[in-house]
Structures are given as structure tokens and as C-alpha cells.
């Protein structure tokens, strides 16, 4: 149980680092490590497929995309972040920590939940049988993403600029 908590704390720390880091590459890397932690947590929650996906896709693919974008916008991306913001972050964080703790403790016993029966079937069945609609939606999303990128990167000279 303790390990779970340690992993969760690690996840939160690296997420914090991701937004505080001055250099973008460092931020992207800490983001990747954070998603690594998350993957491990998923494994421990006996959600292996989710963990694999998390690590491979989120830690891998998205981080690569980030790195690509950062390199493309390397030349003059020095945007001075306000220093005050960086300093104030821990304060707000601790404050939120306390509020969040209180809210979660007060809601602890209140939220009733229906006792769910043991889950039948394998993951494949669940994915394919019960959630087939989501698959169609996924096709839609992927198609939308691809078309979006195509549209956004279409060559300029064909259409006169507005």
C-alpha cells in the first residue's frame, strides 16, 4: 500500500517539476517520467493493458511529439515566465493540499456505492463486445486528428491567404 503512495507522490512531484522547469526539454522529460510512474501505478492496480498503453503511447509518442515541437520552435522561444509565479507555486500547492485533504476526508463515508458483482469475461470481450461504440468513436477521433493535421499543414500557396 505504501509503495502505491510513494509512486503517487513521485507522480505528483514530477508533474510539479514539469511545469516549474525553465527549459522546455527538461519539462517534457519530467512529463515522460511522470507518465512512467502512472504506468507503474496502473500495473499495481491490476490494469496491465492501461499501464502498457500509458507507458508506450503517452510516455513515448506524446513526449516525442513534444520534443519535435520544441526543436521546431527552438530559435526564439525564450518567454520569460514571471518569477513570482514560480515562488508562489508551493504556497498555493500546500494550501490546495489541505483543502483537498479536508474535502476528501469529509466525503469519505458519505458517498454510497452500489456493490458491483464480479466482472465476467476477458478484457478483449469487454473492449470489443461492450464498448464497440467507443471503437467507432476512436476511429472518428483518429480520422479527425489526421485530417486536422493535414488541414493545418497543407501547403500555403495553393489557397490564397485570407
Amino acid at each position: 500500500m505504501i509503495i502505491q503512495i510513494i509512486l503517487l507522490v513521485g507522480l505528483v512531484i514530477f508533474a510539479g517539476l514539469a511545469i516549474l522547469a525553465k527549459d522546455l526539454l527538461k519539462a517534457a522529460l519530467s512529463l515522460a517520467v511522470a507518465s512512467l510512474f502512472l504506468g507503474i501505478i496502473f500495473f499495481r492496480l491490476s490494469a496491465p493493458y492501461a499501464g502498457v498503453f500509458e507507458i508506450s503511447v503517452v510516455a513515448g509518442l506524446i513526449t516525442v511529439l513534444f520534443a519535435l515541437t520544441i526543436s521546431l520552435t527552438r530559435k526564439n522561444d525564450q518567454v520569460q515566465e514571471a518569477r513570482l509565479v514560480k515562488i508562489a507555486f508551493p504556497l498555493f500547492f500546500i494550501l490546495f493540499l489541505i483543502i483537498d485533504g479536508l474535502v476528501m476526508k469529509s466525503l469519505l463515508l458519505k458517498v454510497p456505492a452500489l456493490p458491483a458483482g464480479p466482472e465476467a469475461g476477458t478484457f478483449g470481450q469487454v473492449l470489443w463486445k461492450q464498448r464497440t461504440f467507443d471503437l467507432i468513436a476512436q476511429i472518428g477521433v483518429i480520422l479527425a486528428g489526421v485530417l486536422a493535421v493535414l488541414a493545418l499543414f497543407r501547403k500555403k500557396e495553393e489557397d490564397k491567404d485570407e
Partner: protein
């Protein structure tokens, strides 16, 4: 059983807070998008945790996988947008993006 659930919800709330704090204060476009990523991590954590706690883990996993796919396409579109904005503005500062006013 359900207090475990709130532990995970506690941590995902923390992640979401970090994301929103970054969105509200940071100025770099990519930093902002990283914040969005952090928020979606928090949400996927909550999703899986709920599944685990309620013994509907298989269903939760399929949900998370779909969610990640959605997230990928969102990242693709957003980064394409950011690159285009960069080509136009030659800068990643979000404060420059305030021409449409009133």
C-alpha cells in the same frame, strides 16, 4: 474499500490543480499544453482508480485506452496549431494571442 478510492481521487485532484495553476500563470504555449497533459493524467488516474476500487477494472481499462487515443489526437492537433502560431508570431508567448477583443 471506498477510502482507497478517495486516496486516488485526492492525488488526481492534486494533479488537476497543478495543471490549472500552470494554465492560469504560465506564458509559454508549450508549457500550457504540458499542463493540459498533466490534467488528463489526473483524469486517467481517477478513471483507473475508480475501476480498480469498484472491481470493474476491465471496463475502466478500455475506457482509459480510448481516452488515451483521444488524448493523442488532441495533442496532434494542438501541436500543429502551436507550430502554425509560432510560424505566424515568431514567438510562443500566449499574451500576444489577444488581438480578438471587445
Amino acid at each position: 474499500m471506498s477510502n482507497l478510492w478517495f486516496l486516488y481521487l485526492f492525488f488526481s485532484a492534486l494533479l488537476i490543480f497543478i495543471g490549472i495553476y500552470c494554465l492560469l500563470t504560465m506564458r509559454n504555449l508549450i508549457k500550457l499544453f504540458i499542463a493540459i497533459e498533466i490534467i488528463s493524467k489526473g483524469v486517467s488516474l481517477a478513471l483507473v482508480a475508480t475501476g480498480a476500487v469498484q472491481h470493474t477494472i476491465l471496463l475502466a481499462q478500455s475506457l482509459v485506452i480510448t481516452y488515451i487515443v483521444v488524448e493523442v489526437s488532441l495533442v496532434a492537433t494542438a501541436l500543429a496549431l502551436i507550430i502554425n502560431i509560432y510560424k505566424k508570431n515568431k514567438s510562443l508567448d500566449v499574451r500576444l494571442l489577444s488581438k480578438l477583443k471587445g
